[in-house]
Amino acid sequence: MTFLSFAWTWLTSRQQWHGADGIPIRLLQHLGYSGLALLVAGLIALPLGVAIGHTGRGAFAIVSLANIWRAIPTLGLLIMMVVYLGFSPLTWLIPLVALAIPPILVNAYEGVLGVDPDLIDAASGMGMTGWQVLRRVEIPVAMPLIMLGLRTAAIFIVATATIAAEIGTGGLGRYIIDGLASNEYGQVAGGAALVVLLALLVQVVFVGLRRLVVPAGLRRAART
């Protein structure tokens, strides 16, 4: 398998692990871009999604958002930011955050909206206030979908951060873009392999996180 042999040769050569263009630094950069974007997107979209789901309004906007966000070309958005803002940290942060918001928002909304009304009735019947119902019933029950939204967003961010190398950022995408320019397939393959591994790692982390965060009873129910 040519891809694997190219990637392996490049990855196992010592010089890739040192210096400003070395794998540790690029990996840290990539995690940095992704982590920050996910944090900001989560801080914006989670409360918003939960609130909209709780009150049940704004459904139409949510549906339209869900349909449009997959249509937006990420490379186009990144370049549009360059044209507006030049080359600054915001240039990559804004598109990453903007593209991460819809999955988090829509899934949080769906999650809270989909809570069985009987549960909510029972909770208010037990004397809980609106806030308490939200905190102790709706959000925990919505957790599977909320986690799904965060996972989708994380994966999307990691992918978009890779493409951002085209507009001059660091990160693992640098290997792919630079390698393509110099026709060094080893570099391209190595970079791609690292990105794939990172994406799978993110996947695994979130599946694990889900186990921690989603109440056991819900996990069992989901199995049927």
């Binding site: 349909n67 249509a71 937006i72 186009g76 044209v83 393959a189």
Partner: protein
């Protein structure tokens, strides 16, 4: 925004839009063509489904640029290098939808068909698949919209698409081009989405009166999560 650029370059805009559409739609269609038989198999042999789903979930998480790059070793800098990964992504979205759709056929309906003398193949073709159509098309919409948008990335490896306007616009610091490219991708994707909605309506006349709930498939990488919870 230089509006006059648009009529001046309408030929190139049209050409690249067609090329982008071709890459995106062919990928989604190939994904459909593979996922329907695969889904049918997964319904018939239930044990197959969780591993298929896990693999699909894993592949879907891989950034498309990385997959394009993997393909270069095999298919060079050709259209296939873009179409094959996008087909894989479409598969990841569609297989769960096919399976869910087929499983959602109510048991009484299935039994009625058998009672009427339908063999398994005929029941599949004339009862189960038609009932599954709305869910399958919901997945196809996601697959098509994503494929069209992702096809624009192909320009990074020299495969012609609307992505050309992003890159040329970046190099010449020419916002009009970039906006035009973005707009055309979105318009193209939404047009394809609309076409699929129309096709679904034509294929499922019995559903015309019912309001359309938003399918969860629109939001998720693969509604794999429900079953993954059981597998992991």
């Amino acid at each position: 925004m230089v509006w006059s650029w648009i009529p001046q370059n309408i030929g190139q805009i049209g050409q690249l839009t067609l090329q982008n559409a071709y890459l995106g739609i062919v990928s989604a269609m190939l994904g459909l063509g593979i996922s329907v038989p695969l889904g049918i198999i997964c319904v018939r042999w239930r044990l197959l489904y969780p591993p298929v789903l896990s693999i699909a979930s894993a592949i879907y998480a891989i950034p498309s640029l990385a997959l394009f790059v993997v393909l270069i070793a095999f298919t060079g800098l050709s259209d296939a290098t873009v179409i094959i990964p996008l087909t894989l992504f479409s598969l990841c979205v569609l297989v769960p939808n096919v399976v869910d759709g087929l499983r959602s056929v109510p048991e009484p309906v299935r039994q009625a068909a058998t009672a009427m003398g339908f063999g398994p193949l005929r029941r599949l073709a004339q009862v189960e698949l038609p009932v599954a159509i709305p869910v399958i098309i919901a997945g196809l919409r996601v697959a098509t919209v994503s494929s069209i948008s992702l096809a624009s990335l192909g320009q990074l490896i020299g495969v012609s698409s609307l992505g050309y306007f992003f890159i040329d616009g970046l190099q010449r610091d020419f916002p009009t081009e970039v906006y035009a490219g973005i707009a055309m991708v979105i318009v193209l994707a939404l047009a394809a989405d609309l076409l699929l909605i129309v096709i679904r309506r034509m294929l499922t006349p019995w559903q015309r009166r019912r309001a359309e709930p938003m399918p969860p498939a629109v939001l998720t990488p693969a509604p794999a999560d429900r079953d993954l919870a059981g597998v992991s």
